[in-house]
């Protein structure tokens, strides 16, 4: 057993870290996040062309660097450490995950090249975190399909060229059977979006399908049989989020330790107060356990119970580290100008993405303790 990274993996991490230190410091990130688009085409292009990281997690036959989920984890950790808003999770981890699942070599090539960006439209206003809860329907017509429905808070839809959409082709609203998956250009007729920024600095859209007609080739896999693939790719995304959380927590810890060593009250650096020391030790332990759980879960993919365990442990850690990082900064911690609050906001949103801590604890119970 070893926890070492290969040379290529180390190289991916190092070049990405260097690039982000250079081109994506907190101020640059804020500028990008607050621009009208809310993300940077230049950065994405650099990911594709200068760094080549968009291909890190794909096999060589598919044009990638020969990696897999470990590469995704490495990239996502840096995404978390630098609060990157560009759509790596949506496009590479999720979009690429479906492409891998369904052997879409051409799509992978376009993802690696940076020209295709994907948003995953799964959530619905009434569905909460149930992946199979679909009021959005896909009805067969003239050899193709007609999509109707409303998808809620679709992350990265504003920057996407394509959507991967879950829609029901048969069955009742929450049935596992009848879940189908479609890949379509975002500018398909009948698809409209309402774009907006998110509290954590990202962007999303409400996506509406009004009798949007797609050809049969838009269907991924077999009609009605996509639930398993959706779960699998979402678990990969969950592990990606866990890795993002590790970067995010470690950075909050670093900011907090640095700040408390600098900040003096009562004539001493506040890092000398034992209550604060113990708090920072607890924050450190949360981050360490988050890293352990992420390594565990990435190695055990596609084991869903392991992904659920990681999400639970890390969700709690995110809340603890985020709240206390702000607390230990005092007033500075709740300002928009200072970085720590923005990490706290992202941490808060990661905790809820694809389901909250409670949701995954319940899921773990069902998978591991009930039959």
């Amino acid at each position: 057993m070893n926890f070492d990274f290969t040379e290529t993996q180390t190289m991916v991490r190092d070049t990405l870290q260097r690039f982000l230190a250079d081109r994506y410091d907190f101020e640059s990130r804020q500028k990008i996040s607050r621009s009208d688009a809310g993300w940077s085409q230049d950065i994405w292009k650099a990911f594709a062309e200068e760094l080549g990281i968009l291909g890190a997690s794909f096999s060589e036959e598919l044009g990638g660097l020969g990696g897999g989920q470990i590469e995704n984890m490495i990239v996502m950790e840096e995404v978390g450490r630098s609060l990157v808003v560009e759509p790596y999770l949506s496009t590479v981890v999720i979009g690429g995950g479906f492409a891998r699942e369904y052997g879409k070599a051409d799509l992978i090539e376009e993802i690696i090249g940076g020209e295709t960006r994907i948003a995953f439209a799964w959530a619905e206003p009434q569905g909460r975190f149930d992946l199979n809860y679909l009021e959005t329907s896909a009805r067969e017509k003239d050899g193709g399909f007609v999509l109707s429905g409303h998808k809620a808070v679709v992350r990265d839809a504003p920057s996407a060229t394509h959507l991967v959409v879950t829609a029901r082709t048969s069955g009742d609203v929450a049935d596992e059977d009848g879940v189908s998956l479609f890949l379509l250009p975002k500018d398909t007729k009948g698809v409209s979006t309402r774009d907006y920024p998110l509290v954590d600095g990202g962007v999303a859209s409400e996506v509406y399908f009004e009798n949007a007609e797609v050809p049969a080739s838009a269907l991924l896999g077999e009609a009605g049989k996509a639930a398993g693939a959706v779960r699998k790719v979402v678990d990969e995304a969950v592990v990606g989020l866990c890795a993002e959380a590790v970067g995010c927590m470690e950075q909050m810890n670093k900011l907090t330790q640095d700040y408390t060593k600098e900040r003096k009250q009562f004539g001493v650096p506040i890092s000398k107060f034992q209550v604060l020391q113990h708090r920072m030790v607890d924050m450190f332990m949360e981050a360490e356990q988050a890293r352990s759980m992420t390594y565990m879960a990435v190695n055990r993919l596609p084991d869903s119970a392991s992904a659920a365990q990681a999400k639970v442990k890390i969700g709690k850690g995110l809340t603890y580290v985020g709240q206390n990082a702000v607390q230990l900064h005092g007033g500075i911690g709740i300002t928009d100008e200072y970085a720590v609050g923005h990490y706290f906001k992202r941490a808060t949103m990661i905790e809820g993405q694809f389901g909250t801590t409670d949701h995954y604890l319940r899921r773990y119970e069902r998978l591991a303790l009930e039959d």
């Binding site: 206003p125 929450a174 907006y196 998110l198 509290v199 409400e206 004539g267 107060f273 005092g330």
Partner: protein, 402 residues
């Protein structure tokens, strides 16, 4: 021991409830706790209460107080929370007002108290400085006493204050300044000044907080000339006023009544939101969190009632009130966290027009829109007013004698 309300107290409750129903401005319905109201909206209810004679219930009657018993004040808070009214700002009513009627000259009382009672003067609190937060006594803003050409005495104030809440609307501020830099102890040599915010040399700069709000400010004082008769209390003894103020008016600090309303709101939201096709409130995990909150809130409520009873029996609010501050803010923060959890996906959208009168935002249900900013903003409550770490220090030292 009898923990029930008397028939007179119940009648009082009815009177209050009716008054609120009949007089509270329709446009501000349910606006309590909103961080984005303008000056007029923040003052509207205060002004109505001022006319009725109910704006400063805790003050001595000679200055406008109502003479209510602690239980009546408690009922008053409960009914306002129930209606989620916009509460009068604390800076005048709970902070500088009591300092002025306790330490001020007759002229100062006459000049400043009526504006606070009526809700026409907006006050801000100029204590904290970039280098003086928890360690407030280390403040550096300097006030030098001079005699001007007009033969009158003034303080010339130089320095910087920060985190000054809503100073952008303030007419007046109460400031702690250093009048004797050579005093033996940092707490000595501080004076308490009332400063007209329109005085030349004052610059107010916004600090934007996490939810996008403009709620706090930096205040720069550059050769600000303040007449000596705007000092409250003796020169170099301002710390006495500061300490008095910090210990005063602890009733309501726990926020019990508003937290009760907050929990009811969670139940409402969780009855609407669906989880696996059923109302979220039926999810056992979620329900348990609500139950735990209710248990903790009950514990806080009866701790507060005991404190109030002690006050009524003539025991001043002691360091025990730190318990109310810590537990009260922790519960408020947990409520905000649970609201955000309850609203699910629609907690994430954010609209940039915040604070600029943009009410066009209609993504997701109404109750979801402010969930995340309110949660983020709410982290302040364990930081300000003496952080919860500082409060624990006070209990350890003053209550437990450690």
């Amino acid at each position: 021991m009898d923990l029930k309300f008397t028939p007179e107290e119940e009648a009082f409750r009815t009177e209050i409830r009716t008054f609120i129903e009949e007089n509270y401005p329709e446009r501000l319905k349910n606006a309590g706790g909103r961080e984005d109201l303008g000056r007029d909206d923040m003052l509207a209810w205060h002004q109505i209460l001022g006319e009725k004679g109910w704006s400063v219930p805790s003050w001595p009657e000679e200055y406008g107080g109502t003479g209510w018993t602690p239980t009546q004040k408690y009922i008053w808070n409960e009914e306002n929370a129930r209606a989620n009214t916009v509460p009068p700002l604390p800076f005048g009513v709970s902070m500088v007002g009591p300092v002025i009627y306790t330490f001020g000259t007759p002229e100062q009382k006459e000049r400043f108290l009526p504006g606070i009672v009526a809700g026409t003067t907006w006050w801000c609190q100029g204590y904290s400085e970039p280098g003086a937060g928890s360690d407030l006594a280390s403040l550096k803003t300097r006030a030098e006493r001079i005699t001007d050409d007009d033969g009158k005495e003034y303080y010339i104030v130089n320095g910087q204050k920060t985190w000054t809440t809503l100073a952008q609307h303030a007419d007046w501020g109460f400031f702690l300044v250093r009048t004797d830099p050579d005093a033996r102890k940092p707490q000595e040599g501080i004076s308490f000044l009332l400063i007209d915010m329109k005085t030349p040399g004052i610059t107010v700069r916004p600090i934007i907080t996490l939810g996008g709000e403009h709620e706090v400010n930096e205040v720069f004082l550059d050769n600000v000339k303040v007449p000596v008769d705007q000092r409250v209390g003796k020169e170099n003894e301002g710390w006495t006023c500061a300490k008095f103020l910090l210990a005063h008016e602890r009733s309501g600090i726990a926020g019990v009544a508003r937290s009760k309303v907050g929990i009811e709101r969670i139940k409402d939201i969780a009855s609407t939101e669906l989880d696996e096709g059923k109302p979220l409130i039926e999810n056992p995990f979620f329900k348990r969190k609500v139950a735990e909150l209710e248990v903790d809130l009950t514990a806080l409520e009866f701790t507060e009632l005991r404190t109030l009873a002690g006050e009524a029996a003539g025991k001043g609010p002691g360091p025990e009130s730190s318990v109310l501050k810590i537990k009260g803010t922790e519960i408020q923060q947990r409520i905000q966290e649970l609201v955000l959890e309850a609203v699910g996906h629609y907690g994430a959208p954010y609209f940039r027009g915040y604070g600029e009168g943009d009410n066009e935002f209609s993504i997701g249900p109404d109750y979801a829109q402010r969930a995340a900013p309110t949660y983020f903003n709410g982290r302040k409550t364990s930081i300000y007013g003496g952080s919860n770490e500082i409060q624990r220090g006070i209990i350890a030292k003053m209550v437990l004698g450690l």
